[in-house]
C-alpha cells in the first residue's frame, strides 16, 4: 500500500514535469497551428544552456532559470523570425501550412547534429550535484526532491502563462490570433510578430522544463527525443492548445508510468499510455480540455 502511495506521489511529480516539457508544444500549436517537431531539440538546447550556465558560473541549478528562460525566449523568437516566418509568408493562403512542419523537422535534425558535432556524444551531468538523489523522508515514504521542485516550477509556470494570456493586452492579442488571424490583423495585430512571440514563449517554457530536468537527468544530444514523443501524447491527451491540459496530460502519463509497474511488467505501461492515446483520439479527438472553436 505504501508503495502505491509513494509511486502515486512520484508519478504526479514527474508527470507535472512531463507536462512542463509539453507546454511549449501546446502553446506553439495553439497559435501557429503547426506541430513543432523541433520542440524536443529546443528542450535539449535548453538543457545544454542550463548545464553550461551552471558549470561555468557555479550558480544554483534552479537559479539558472533567470539565464535560461530569456536565452531560450530569444532563441525561439529569432528561430521563428528568421527560419520559419519566410515559409509562412510563402504559404500565406494555406489554412494549415504543412511545409512548416517539414521545416521544423529539419530544425530538429540540424540542432541535434550540431550539438553532437560541438559537444560530442557523451552523457553529461552536473558535477558535485547534491540534488541528484536527494530524498525527503516521511517515515517510510520517500519523495524525490528535484522532482518536487520540478512540480512546483511546473505549476507556477503554467499559472504565470495562463495569467499572461488572460489578463494582458499582448496575451489577448495572442489568443485572438490563435482563433482568427485575419480578424486579428484587422484589429491592428501583426500576425508574424505574434508568431515570433508565441514561439519565444514556447521555447522559454522548454528552457524552464530543461532547468527542472538537468539536476536529475543526463544531458546528451538526443535527449530531446525521449520527451518529444511523450510530449505529443500529452498534448493530445490534454487537448492541443490547452495549457492546463498539458499539465493534466503529463500527470496522467506520469501516473501510468509510475504506478503501473506495481501491477504489471514495466514495459506494459508504455502500451497503456499509447492505448489511452488512441482511445482519446477515437472518443474525444479534441482532448480532455481542448475546445473546438469553429462555429
Amino acid at each position: 500500500m505504501l508503495y502505491i502511495i509513494e509511486d502515486t506521489i512520484n508519478g504526479i511529480l514527474m508527470g507535472s514535469i512531463y507536462g512542463l516539457t509539453a507546454m511549449g508544444l501546446t502553446i506553439i500549436f495553439g497559435v501557429l497551428k503547426v506541430i513543432n517537431f523541433a520542440h524536443g531539440s529546443m528542450l535539449m538546447v535548453g538543457m545544454y544552456v542550463t548545464y553550461w550556465a551552471v558549470t561555468l558560473t557555479g550558480i544554483n541549478p534552479y537559479l539558472a532559470i533567470v539565464i535560461v528562460a530569456p536565452v531560450m525566449f530569444f532563441f525561439g523568437y529569432y528561430l521563428q523570425d528568421i527560419v520559419i516566418k519566410p515559409i509562412f509568408i510563402a504559404e500565406k493562403n494555406v489554412r494549415e501550412p504543412i511545409t512548416v512542419i517539414i521545416v521544423t523537422t529539419g530544425i530538429w535534425y540540424i540542432l541535434d547534429n550540431l550539438t553532437l558535432l560541438i559537444f560530442g556524444p557523451q552523457y553529461r551531468s552536473l558535477a558535485d550535484n547534491p540534488w541528484r538523489s536527494k530524498m525527503l523522508e516521511f517515515g517510510d515514504l520517500f519523495i524525490s526532491v528535484p522532482k518536487l521542485y520540478g512540480c512546483i516550477i511546473a505549476i507556477v509556470t503554467a499559472a504565470a502563462i495562463y495569467w499572461f494570456f488572460q489578463k494582458t493586452s499582448m496575451g489577448r492579442a495572442i489568443r485572438a490570433t490563435s482563433m482568427d488571424r485575419e480578424a486579428a490583423s484587422l484589429q491592428g495585430i501583426n500576425q508574424y510578430k505574434i508568431y515570433n512571440l508565441a514561439f519565444g514563449i514556447g521555447s522559454a517554457t522548454a528552457g524552464i522544463a530543461a532547468v527542472t530536468l538537468v539536476p536529475f537527468n543526463n544531458v546528451f544530444p538526443t535527449v530531446g527525443v525521449l520527451f518529444d514523443i511523450k510530449g505529443f501524447i500529452i498534448v493530445v491527451l490534454g487537448g492541443l492548445g490547452s495549457i492546463g491540459g498539458a499539465l493534466v496530460g503529463g500527470i496522467i502519463v506520469g501516473l501510468i508510468e509510475s504506478v503501473g509497474p506495481q501491477f504489471m511488467t514495466a514495459t506494459w505501461t508504455e502500451a497503456i499510455v499509447y492505448g489511452l492515446f488512441l482511445v482519446v483520439l477515437f472518443v474525444k479527438p479534441s482532448g480532455l480540455f481542448g475546445q473546438k472553436h469553429d462555429w
Binding site: M179, Q187, G188, N190, Q291, H293, W295
Partner: protein, 236 residues
C-alpha cells in the same frame, strides 16, 4: 481633399480580376453606402482598402497618406477600421476581451478604458453580456460586438461590411440606428449593404457597383428614387 481617395484601382484574386478601375471618394463626416448584388466586388473593395487584398493598379490615399501597399495592421493604426463580413468575433473570448482586442493599436490602447465606457453607453446590451463568451451570443448581439470592437480602435473611418447580414428585420433596424448614432457622433462611415433601402436612407451618398465597376454614384436621396436602382435593388 477627401479623407479617403480611391483612384482607379484594380483588384484580383489570382488571375480573376474582380475590381476594374474603380474610383471612390469619402469626405470627412459622411456616411457613404456601397450597394450592389452578390459578386459585384463590394466586400473585395473593403478588403483592398484595409490591406487584406493587394491592389494591382491605382492608388488609395487616406488623409494625404498613400496606404495601398501597407499591411492591415498599419492601416488600422492610421484609423481605417474594417468590421468584416460575418462579424468574425473571437469565439472563445469574452465580450469584454473581444472589445479590448479592438483597442490593440497604439493610438487606441491608452484610451481603451474610456472608449469601453462609451461603447457600453452606445450598446448597453454588451455591458450586460460582458463576461459571456462571444460564441454564445445571438446573431444581433454578435453584430453589436463586432461594431463595438471596431469602435474600440478609435476609427476615423469605420467600414462596415453587411452589418445586417442574417439578422431578423427588427434587429436590422436597431443596427442601422446604431450606425446612424455613430455617424452623428462624428465618425465617417463607409458601408457595404444588400439592404439597399435601409442603408441609403441613412446615408449621405451612395455608389452602385456592378461587376466590379461603379455604374452610378450620387446623393443617397437621388439614388433611392432612381428607376434603375428601384428596379434592380428595391424590387419596385
Amino acid at each position: 481633399m477627401p479623407l479617403l481617395d480611391i483612384d482607379k484601382i484594380d483588384v484580383a484574386y489570382g488571375d480573376v480580376q474582380v475590381i476594374f478601375e474603380l474610383s471612390l471618394k469619402v469626405e470627412k463626416g459622411e456616411v457613404v453606402s456601397i450597394i450592389g448584388g452578390n459578386g459585384a466586388g463590394k466586400s473585395t473593395l473593403l478588403r483592398a482598402i484595409s490591406g487584406l487584398m493587394p491592389v494591382k493598379a491605382g492608388s488609395i490615399t487616406f488623409a494625404n497618406d498613400k496606404i495601398d501597399k501597407e499591411p492591415p495592421e498599419n492601416i488600422v493604426t492610421k484609423g481605417i477600421v474594417h468590421v468584416p463580413e460575418g462579424r468574425r468575433l473571437f469565439p472563445l473570448m469574452s465580450v469584454k476581451d473581444n472589445l479590448m482586442v479592438g483597442a490593440f493599436n497604439k493610438r487606441a490602447r491608452e484610451q481603451a478604458g474610456e472608449t469601453l465606457k462609451k461603447v457600453y453607453e452606445l450598446l448597453p446590451r454588451l455591458a450586460e453580456r460582458e463576461s459571456q463568451l462571444a460564441m454564445t451570443l445571438s446573431g444581433g448581439e454578435q453584430q453589436m460586438v463586432a461594431i463595438g470592437r471596431g469602435l474600440m480602435a478609435l476609427p476615423n473611418i469605420l467600414m462596415l461590411d453587411e452589418p445586417s447580414l442574417g439578422l431578423a428585420p427588427i434587429l436590422i433596424k436597431g443596427i442601422f440606428e446604431t450606425v446612424r448614432k455613430i455617424a452623428d457622433q462624428g465618425t465617417t462611415v463607409l458601408m457595404v449593404e444588400q439592404d439597399v433601402k435601409h442603408s441609403l436612407s441613412l446615408s449621405d451618398r451612395g455608389y452602385v457597383l456592378e461587376h466590379g465597376r461603379v455604374v452610378m454614384e450620387g446623393k443617397a436621396a437621388d439614388l433611392i428614387d432612381d428607376p434603375h436602382v428601384k428596379e434592380a435593388y428595391l424590387g419596385i
